[in-house]
Symmetry: C2
Subunit: 231 residues, 2 copies
């Protein structure tokens, strides 16, 4: 059982609402647009590599993704891709920024039950503007004290978050779908983490080892949190 928690932080993308399937769909469109130049697999690989190379400059989120698609297009085409294709890439990106917000099963009921018993926050990476848009459209905003859009989700970033929240690690519970970003760093600084897997995960967020830790829990659905928290 998890005890002494004051603040529960929820990841947003693929924890509160659907995200990765939209990026998969955008990547499909990008690969179709660029199919004259490379195979789908090679294009996806090139785009991923460009994204990773650009992370230190652009950070996470849709706008950086659009810029990486544009760059990949002119790189893999050896600078011959047409302006029309560039325009279509921008449109794929703008489309991502207007996607409907689809809640994951049972998330609202979970928040309803936790609300008032804990300080609830959203702790997410991604695009500042887009994350605020999605939270607003989700209708979940009222359950949360506020949203923290983080530059990274590494140990230091969580330490800063706890400082801002003015709480100790033992009073902090993080819930999310990424073992790499939502679980490991939180455990490493002394917090508690609950993993709620989503059916698809961005390659950059995957890890290749099991986690065994006293403060680590894994559930199929967020509704199982109630049992863990003895509610």
């Amino acid at each position: 059982m998890i005890e002494n928690i004051q603040v529960i932080a929820f990841d947003a993308d693929d924890t509160l609402f659907i995200n990765e399937p939209y990026f998969d769909e955008a990547e499909e469109k990008f690969c179709a647009l660029m199919s004259d130049y490379l195979s789908k697999q090679s294009l996806a690989q090139a785009l991923f590599q460009t994204q990773i190379n650009n992370l230190p400059l652009y950070g996470y989120g849709v706008k950086g993704y659009i810029l990486s698609m544009v760059q990949t297009a002119y790189e893999v085409s050896n600078h011959t891709v047409s302006t029309k294709v560039m325009e279509k890439i921008i449109e794929i990106g703008k489309d991502l920024l207007t996607k409907p917000v689809v809640l994951l099963d049972g998330i609202e009921e979970t928040l309803q039950q936790l609300h008032g018993k804990y300080k609830l926050v959203v702790a997410t990476k991604g695009d500042l503007k887009d994350q605020h848009r999605k939270l607003h459209l989700s209708g979940l905003g009222a359950y949360f004290h506020h949203i923290e859009v983080m530059v990274e989700k590494e140990e230091l970033d969580y330490e800063k978050l706890l400082k801002r929240l003015e709480i100790e690690p033992e009073n902090f519970l993080m819930i999310g779908n990424s073992l790499k970003s939502d679980v490991l760093p939180v455990l490493n600084i002394g917090g508690t983490a609950v993993h709620v897997p989503f059916h698809t995960t961005w390659a950059h967020e995957r890890i290749d080892h099991e986690i065994v830790h006293n403060n680590f829990y894994s559930v199929e659905k967020t509704s199982e949190l109630m049992t863990l928290l003895d509610l």
Copy 2:
């Protein structure tokens, strides 16, 4: 004299360090690249209009600016601009994200004197990743409790900020170079604001009327804050 302040928030761009001159320089380069198509004045106007139109989607900051340059390029060229020009636009943008951070005169001394007497925070719009980068490189990070990168700086955004900070408006002082973003909304929700003008202001941040208000102050240099705060 300003009394009862608990939290002092500083705007970042053109309040802590130089920003607008870098955007002016980027715009010059963009106009030079596109000079075959339109006059400098018309290009600047078209870029500004694209930026404003894209604000609801992209928000503030460098990445949205790059995407707006790309879009303006294909729009004003009637879709004939070359891929090479697109690539150069991306480079102008990446260059903006690696500019040195140049502190404004006297800002560090001011922060030294305020540190420990008030909770100091940075409250800024712009790109999440880039603002964190700049604050880190500025060497000013240690003076601040944390940085708040805001989606907008309107009344509602400041109200949310105060809720996060868990303080009342009468205990909040905002310092910045934008009358529109740093001063007016803060006065309107009952806070106090100090305007420190910078020699150049983005058109979107300009207002065309005088401000007269009991909680409004204007100084030439941030060092004058000490007198206002009776330090």
